[in-house]
């Protein structure tokens, strides 16, 4: 059973001659353990795709089903709950709470989520992401790579079904970008979760199990020669 399923998802902005079809009847499925990249130029609809999966945007038509729950049929309150417990977000600027230490960033999730981690699981997460020594530090005291590792830890907290990452390596240099992607892949596999990464960084595509290309609101499997011709 697919952990994520999109059936004929369409998103249209505006009306009449100003009508823009950001997504054109997209069908998409992802299984547990999938490490997926969505690539494409700016304005192609990849962020719209990600935000619809994340329940932040409602599609004009079609269905989004996450872990057997039809998100598109839910009200905002239930979508928010689903987001909290089933989806982990990683954003490009890491977006950590500036006045919380690394430990407190995770403690906050502990306070608001239903399914909390045990102390042992939490220690394991710190160890896996090599942030155990950073617990008492604030985001301002961390390097870009460290911040992104903490953001990954936040996204992975209490094992969500899906991790959505929007340009998670955009502000990192090449080595750090590889490192962060490597960690994401490792955690996806070890925790058997599903990670969808929106990126325009072509250096990273070899890390992914599946790569899709978004162009003018149409999602298709990526074929290397297509990009090679560009």
């Amino acid at each position: 059973m697919a952990i994520l399923q999109l059936d004929k998802v369409k998103k249209t902005y505006g009306a009449g001659h100003k009508k823009v079809e950001a997504l054109k009847e997209i069908d998409f499925t992802a299984e547990r353990g999938d490490f997926i990249a969505i690539i494409g130029p700016s304005g192609s609809g990849k962020s719209t795709f990600l935000t619809i999966i994340g329940g932040l945007l409602t599609p004009t038509s079609g269905e989004v089903i996450i872990n057997n729950q039809t998100m598109t049929a839910m009200n905002e309150k239930n979508r928010s709950k689903l987001r909290l417990n089933e989806i982990g977000f990683i954003l490009q600027a890491s977006n950590l709470v500036p006045f919380l230490t690394v430990a407190d960033q995770l403690r906050l999730l502990d306070k608001v989520k239903n399914n909390n981690m045990t102390k042992e699981q939490l220690e394991g997460l710190y160890k896996d992401l090599e942030i155990a020594d950073l617990r008492a530090k604030y985001p301002a005291d961390l390097s870009g790579g460290q911040r992104q590792r903490v953001a990954i830890a936040k996204a992975l907290y209490s094992n969500p079904s899906i991790i959505l990452a929007d340009e998670p390596t955009a502000s990192l240099d090449t080595n750090l970008a590889f490192e962060v992607t490597d960690i994401l892949k490792r955690e996806t596999k070890s925790k058997n979760t599903t990670t969808i990464v929106v990126t325009h960084d072509m250096r990273l595509i070899n890390y992914f199990d599946k790569v899709y290309q978004m162009e003018d609101g149409v999602l298709a499997e990526y074929k290397e020669e297509v990009l090679g011709n560009e």
Binding site: F89, N95, F99, L100
Partner: protein, 355 residues
């Protein structure tokens, strides 16, 4: 509370400043409240000491004790549980070293207006008085001979009593004969039945029957009609209310600016599924903490200041009133946080994460 406290802990200077501002406003509110109570006591202390329910004065005096003039025979026509005759006039007392405004109360020794003596003795002979202990602070002592302005009389202080100020002046309690002699001088004999009013203790003020042209006034009404009393209270209370509203505005502005600065952070947290309610509660908790801490420090500072003020400053801290003002202060500050809560609810997580 978790987010609220963590943010305050991290940004100590920022929150210390706003707590400091609220503390100063709370201090001012408490101090003005103490001043209002002190000034009230200055006017009504001796009246409260009567522990009475009503006073009978002439209608034409318009509720003014000093302007009311009736006879002892009028008193006999009043049907009430317990009554006490009262004569009153104001003067300047002089013991050769010090001068002070005073109010003379002429009373019957065997009636309930006779005060408890806290130092010295009761008056037993002519020209003896029991003085309000404020006069002791002003340099008067037992055994002092007082001359009163506008009279030839000389009075001797034989004792002091506490809580004895009327309309801002310490009271000299004396017997009715001395009172008549001092007030009317050579005409004392003709006016020996003249009094200003009759103080009453009763369970039912409305049932009191009085002779014509004499009215029964409830004690609260009598106090409210003391010259300047209501105006003074209104002025000080208005200042207190304005200060409380100003503190709410300060909190509202400060929290709104903080919230606007954190909009993108709130958006991201909302995108992660943290509810608007949790974030709004965090702002409310923060407001509660800063206003509560401000009020508690302001409270302590007020009491500390009060302990060092000279006795000439009429402050008196009524704990119940101060606690009520403190609670109102915190509640109104929380109401000031409502703008920020609205802003948080309206934040679109999609915009915040740049979708």
């Amino acid at each position: 509370m978790f987010l609220a406290w963590k943010e305050m802990k991290k940004n100590k200077l920022r929150f210390t400043l706003i707590t400091g501002v609220l503390m100063l406003v709370a201090f001012l509110v408490f101090f003005l409240s103490g001043l209002a109570t002190g000034l009230q006591q200055l006017n009504r202390e001796a009246v409260d000491k009567w522990d009475a329910d009503a006073i009978v004065l002439t209608e034409e005096s318009d509720k003014s004790l000093g302007l009311s003039s009736m006879t002892v025979q009028d008193h006999e026509g009043i049907d009430a549980d317990e009554t006490a005759i009262l004569g009153q006039f104001s003067a300047i007392a002089n013991n050769d070293d010090e001068k002070a405004n005073i109010s003379v109360f002429g009373i019957n020794e065997d009636e309930f207006l006779m005060p408890e003596v806290t130092d010295g003795e009761k008056f037993t002979k002519e020209n003896e008085v029991i003085a309000g202990d404020k006069l002791k602070e002003d340099g008067f002592a037992i055994g002092d001979t007082l001359s009163l302005s506008g009279t030839e009389a000389e009075l001797t202080i034989v004792g002091f009593t506490d809580n004895a100020r009327f309309h801002g002046s310490p009271v000299l309690y004396t017997d009715l004969d001395t009172f008549h002699r001092v007030k009317f001088g050579e005409l004392a004999e003709q006016n020996s039945d003249r009094i200003n009013g009759v103080v009453i203790r009763t369970d039912n003020v409305d049932a009191i029957e009085t002779p014509e042209e004499i009215e029964v006034i409830g004690i609260d009404t009598f106090i409210e009609n003391l010259p300047g009393y209501t105006e003074q209270n209104l002025t000080l209370n208005l200042m207190i209310y304005f200060l409380i509203v100003i503190s709410a505005i300060i909190v509202a502005i400060f929290l709104y600016v903080l919230t606007v600065q954190k909009m993108s952070m709130f958006g991201v947290l909302k995108a992660q599924g943290i509810s608007s309610r949790y974030l709004a509660n965090s702002v409310i908790a923060q407001t509660f903490l800063i206003s509560f801490i401000g009020v508690v420090i302001g409270f302590g500072l007020t009491l500390l200041t009060g302990a060092f003020l000279p006795s000439a400053v009429p402050v008196s801290f009524d704990m119940v009133t101060m606690i009520i003002y403190g609670l109102i202060f915190v509640v109104v500050a929380i109401m000031g946080a409502v703008f920020s809560v609205r802003t948080i609810v309206k934040i679109d997580p999609l915009q915040a994460i740049g979708g």
